[in-house]
């Protein structure tokens, strides 16, 4: 309601002002200007500014219109000052009836007068300033003085030193008076309107600040002049006014409008004065603004910053000498503790003073201030980790005093990693940081840990010393302990053992933590593989604390070991003794994983983990074969078999595992050559496992696949083949024979054929027959003499009969029939390049 009334008042006033301006302009712009009439119109529209019904924002709208209108009057006066003597006019308007229009007119004429050559500028300025004191209503007074400042801004004399002094005096006085009016507004009216007053005051703040802008625009002022003559006066007023709104705003303005180097030079004065500000003043806003400005300055003009800081230190030195000469040695220390030119120390010392002098300061503010100081140090002294340690030492002391709202400290915790290009900084910090982190809630620690680790991963930061590895994982310590200590143990106590078994549907947070953790293993790097291995051992010592979650990290760790062995094999520097260590480490770790499976912690997940363990073992066995350590390799194969027998219970997994075993064995070379007996043990066992699988189809396929283990032939590279394409018939020369055992192959094929035949469903048998035919063709091509034309023809006949029995039309055998047709087609094609195929019957 009030607002509607306000805007109605405004509309009415705007209307009057508009018409009066139009009329005034008509008077001024006619051929024979009627100046006195114009003045009368001006006076009329200026009277609208006498209102006390408008809020500052609406009053400002009115003011803007009036300001624009008065500009026409100013211009006219300037053009016609020969005829209309300005000194006389200045006197004349003093007789206007009301004070507000009178003073606006006076300032309008006075400012034009100032622009005329040889005018008594300083006197006019002084007079206008004194007269302005006539309006003591805060809102009207503030706008009037704002008008004074706007109209005179381009005219203030600065030629000589005394002129400059007067100009500054003029502006500062106007500033002080405006500030007083502004503060006084707080105490006006009924206390129930306090909220509204506060809002109005906030709107008006810009007017007061404009004076400081004015001073900052005087180019004659250098940073020393500012330090000596400007800042002290301004700060004095700010401290004395005892009003937190004014203090907060004006300090902000100082920071914004004066150049960065001024702030650097006057930092001590500025910070000192803030210690005397009234309660309720939001310290952190000002400090954070100031520090951010200094950081920007450093980013923008690092060279300039250097110069100023060195200036600053010589200045401080001079000052010290000066003081020592004049005062007693003893108390010079106590009164002026800030002698350093180190910005960090200035702010750091200040933060202590703040805590001592301002007990009302809350922790939120302090945390923000420390965060800003931390950023400042990272920007100005990126290598000086001691600074950061100090900040966290202080933060640690503070955090011990409270247990509430600890989350406010999170941004500070993240600062060192967030604002530094080199994530390794965080590894160089001392215990303060870790202790500080561990004093915070687990969720925050955890998030910070992930944040740190992601930074490392993002930038691929290598960890190459024991210290680095240890420190990084210490920083992530919160992940390693939480699971066991917090939930599962208490749960199992409360609900019996079942609950702990009933485990892990891990939360997405935990999964992403451990994913990052697993990746972190790849950051570990040392050019010396044995040193590298030691680092891995350290990593493991941390990971081992994470209970069943080692299943996320151990496999990566084991692959890292395999990688090391491969590297060493390539450069042929694998030391047998060390290798034993590697193997022990590998087996021990793998066994730990298996324990998780055997004690049932993982339930359904267990089978998959067992499969992983077996595959890891197989990989190890293979790499050991490749590095010619065939006895060790044999051991790992045997271990794999043990895992297969003891831990793989699901029939589908069994089949998959068996495929992995066959595949791995087929890749072995050295063990075949070096200890064929051992190899035979392994492959016979494999074939046996195959024949014992649960399902007939699995049995059949495993056995015919196992047949390949007795027929290992290495094909030569494609390039070689292309070269000798013409001599295609002499195939024997294109392959290296590792192991060929005609009889065993045939046995396997026969066995699988028998299993296939024993299947109850004939269509399944048919499918398997066709598959066995394909295998047989392979062996035929590669020269297994027991796989003869006769044998193949027999198989083909078997298949054809089988199709006839089931009936060609039966859709259930579509797929095997097509497969069979393609196989026959293949035989026909082969016949064109290999005469042996011609004898195979096909129709």
């Amino acid at each position: 309601m009030n607002q509607a009334l306000d805007s109605k008042t405004l509309e009415d006033s705007l209307l009057i002002v508009k018409q009066q301006i139009t009329l005034m302009r008509k008077c001024l712009e006619s051929k024979n200007p009627q100046f006195m009439d114009a003045l009368k119109h001006a006076s009329t529209f200026l009277s609208e500014l006498r209102t006390n019904k408008l809020s500052p924002k609406l009053y400002y709208e009115l003011y803007v219109l009036v300001f624009d209108g008065l500009a026409y009057l100013s211009d006219f006066l300037k053009e016609s000052h020969q005829t209309n003597h300005l000194a006389d006019l200045y006197e004349l308007v003093q007789y206007a009836g009301n004070i507000v229009p009178r003073l606006y007119l006076m300032i309008t004429i006075g400012s034009v007068y100032m622009s005329i050559e040889n005018a008594p500028k300083l006197e006019i300025m002084k007079d206008m300033l004194e007269m302005s004191a006539g309006v003591q209503d805060p809102i009207r007074g503030l706008f009037l003085r704002y008008y004074l400042s706007q109209k005179t801004k381009e005219l203030l004399p600065t030629e000589t030193e005394s002129e400059l002094k007067e100009t500054i005096q003029f502006t500062i006085t106007n500033f002080i008076e405006m500030n007083k009016l502004w503060v006084r507004l707080k105490h006006q009216g009924h206390s129930s309107e306090r909220e509204r007053r506060l809002k109005e005051r906030k709107e008006l703040q810009i007017l007061v600040g404009s004076n400081l802008v004015r001073i900052s625009q005087l180019d004659q002022i250098d940073k020393f002049y500012y330090k000596e003559s400007i800042l002290p006066k301004v700060l004095e007023q700010i401290v004395q006014c005892k009003d937190s709104l004014a203090q907060e705003y004006l300090l902000d303005v100082i920071i914004q409008v004066f150049p960065d180097e001024f702030h650097l030079l006057t930092l001590d004065d500025f910070l000192q004065s803030t210690l005397h500000l009234s309660e309720g003043f939001s310290m952190n806003k000002i400090l954070v603004t100031l520090i951010n400005r200094l950081i920007d300055f450093q980013k923008r003009e690092p060279a300039n910053v250097k110069v100023i800081i060195s200036e600053l230190s010589t200045l401080t030195l001079q000052k010290d000498e000066h003081e020592e000469n004049h005062t007693e040695e003893s108390d010079s220390e106590t009164t002026k503790p800030q002698t350093s030119s180190n910005l960090f120390e200035k702010f750091y010392d200040y933060s202590h003073l703040l805590v001592e002098n301002k007990p009302e300061l809350n922790f939120k503010d302090l945390s923000l201030i420390l965060e800003a100081i931390c950023k400042l140090s990272l920007s100005y002294y990126p290598q000086d980790y001691e600074n950061i340690n100090k900040v966290f030492g202080f933060a640690l002391a503070l955090i011990h005093q409270t247990t509430q709202h600890l989350e406010i400290w999170e941004p500070l915790l993240k600062t060192p990693i967030c604002y530094n290009f080199d994530p390794k900084l965080v590894l160089s910090l001392d215990d303060n940081y870790k202790q500080f982190a561990s004093a915070l809630p687990t969720a925050i620690q955890s998030a910070n840990a992930l944040y740190i680790l992601e930074k490392f991963l993002e930038q691929d930061v290598r960890l190459s010393t024991v210290e680095e590895v240890k420190t990084l994982y210490e920083l992530l310590a919160v992940w390693f302990t939480s699971e066991d200590s917090s939930d599962s143990n208490t749960n199992s106590l409360l609900f019996g053992t079942d609950s702990s078994k009933n485990e892990p549907d891990e939360s997405p947070e935990v999964v992403s933590q451990y994913e990052a953790l697993a990746k972190s293993i790849h950051l570990i790097h040392h050019t010396n593989p044995y040193k590298h291995f030691e680092l891995l051992e350290i990593a493991k010592s941390f990971m081992s604390k994470s209970g069943s979650r080692v299943r996320y990290t151990y496999p990566t760790l084991l692959f890292a070991v395999i990688k090391l062995i491969r590297k060493l094999t390539i450069v042929q520097k694998l030391n047998a003794l060390k290798l034993k260590q590697f193997c022990q480490f590998f087996s021990a770790t793998n066994t730990e994983l298996l324990t998780l499976v055997s004690n049932g912690t993982l339930q359904s997940e267990g089978g998959v983990l067992a499969q992983t363990c077996m595959n890891l073992n197989l990989s190890m066995a293979l790499i050991l074969d490749q590095s010619s350590h065939i006895d060790l390799s044999y051991e790992f194969f045997i271990n794999s078999f043990v895992i297969y027998e003891e831990s793989i219970v699901d029939s589908r997994l069994q089949f998959q595992c068996l495929l992995s075993i066959i595949g791995t064995l087929h890749k072995c070379r050295n063990i075949v050559n070096g200890n064929e007996d051992n190899f035979d043990v392994l492959i016979s066992k494999t074939a046996l496992y195959g024949s014992k699988l649960l399902k007939k189809t699995d049995q059949c396929r495993a056995v015919y696949l196992a047949s390949h283990l007795w027929w290992i032939i290495e094909e030569l590279d494609e390039e070689d083949e292309i070269e000798s394409e013409t001599a295609k018939t002499s195939e024997d020369e294109l392959q290296v024979v590792i192991k060929t055992d005609n009889k065993k192959v045939l046995e396997c094929l026969q066995k699988s054929l028998r299993i296939a035949d024993s299947c109850l469903e004939t269509n399944v048998s048919l499918e398997l027959f066709v598959e066995i035919l394909s295998r047989s063709l392979y062996f035929f091509i590669h020269g297994n003499e027991l796989i003869t034309i006769k044998y193949l023809n027999g198989l083909i006949e078997l298949i054809q009969n089988s199709i006839l029995t089931i009936g060609e039309e039966n859709t259930s055998i579509d797929t095997p029939t097509k497969h069979f047709q393609r196989t026959l087609e293949y035989i026909r094609q082969q016949a064109q390049i290999d005469s042996r195929f011609e004898e195979i019957k096909d129709r």
Binding site: D12, L15, I16, K18, Q19, T22, E29, S30, K31, P33, P56, K57, Y60, E61, Y63, V64, L65, D68, A71, Y72, D75, F76, E79, Q150, K153, E154, K202, E203, L204, Q205, I206, L207, G209, S210, L212, V213, S216, D219, V253, Q256, V257, F258, P259, D260, E261, F297, R300, E301
Partner: protein
């Protein structure tokens, strides 16, 4: 008679904080450039006398705070503007992206009667920087001009005084055109008509 009439052209300069609005103005009015960064608080203006086609005009350039918190009294000073200069920093993508919203904000707050014909000018400042720091090229700027209604575009350097006078010459001419079109329009008589209405209503009370 019209020669007697003094023309004041009100020009508003808008753009993100730090694009160089104050520097452009200082360079044009006082031929000065300062490396020091000082934020602008509220609204501040500079005036300059110009002669355009034998006509004396006073151009009043309003510099504004790019940071909203320094406009506590609102932007009433937009009212009565004759031209609006939109400034962005060619090394700062964000300042370019914000140009459109500055324009919209101006049209709303200044209460412009004919937004389609109101003169805007686009300035891309800081072309003195090395080519590799530049984020907005000429082509992209031209696209924006087309999008804003084919407004004139200038690339300037307040630091090295490149293209400043050329840009402000167009600003002044367009502002003058705008001012004249309003002056002889219905604005003049409108005020008086309403005045009569207003008078009678006060009598009624």
């Amino acid at each position: 008679m019209s020669s007697k009439k003094k023309t004041i052209l009100k020009v508003i300069i808008l753009g993100d904080s730090g694009v160089g609005k104050t520097s452009l103005m200082q360079q044009f009015v006082n031929r000065k450039f300062s490396q020091q960064y000082k934020a602008t608080i509220g609204a501040d203006f500079l005036t300059k006398e110009l002669v355009i086609d034998n006509k004396n005009v006073t151009i009043q350039l309003w510099d504004t705070a790019g940071q909203e918190r320094f406009q506590s009294l609102g932007v009433a000073f937009y009212r009565g503007a004759d031209c609006c200069v939109l400034v962005y920093d060619v090394t700062n993508n964000k300042s370019y992206d914000n140009v459109v919203s500055w324009k919209d904000e101006f049209l709303v707050q200044a209460n412009i009667k004919n937004p389609e014909t109101f003169p805007f000018i686009l300035i891309g400042n800081k072309i003195d920087v090395e080519e590799n720091k530049r984020q907005i090229n000429n082509k992209k700027a031209q696209q924006l001009c087309a999008q804003l209604g084919n407004i004139p575009y200038f690339e300037t350097s307040a630091k090295e005084a490149v293209n400043i006078d050329q840009a402000f010459d167009v600003v002044a001419r367009n502002a003058l055109q705008q001012e004249e079109s309003l002056d002889f329009g219905d604005d003049y008589t409108d005020a008086i008509n309403i005045h009569l209405d207003g008078e009678s209503s006060t009598c009624g009370c």
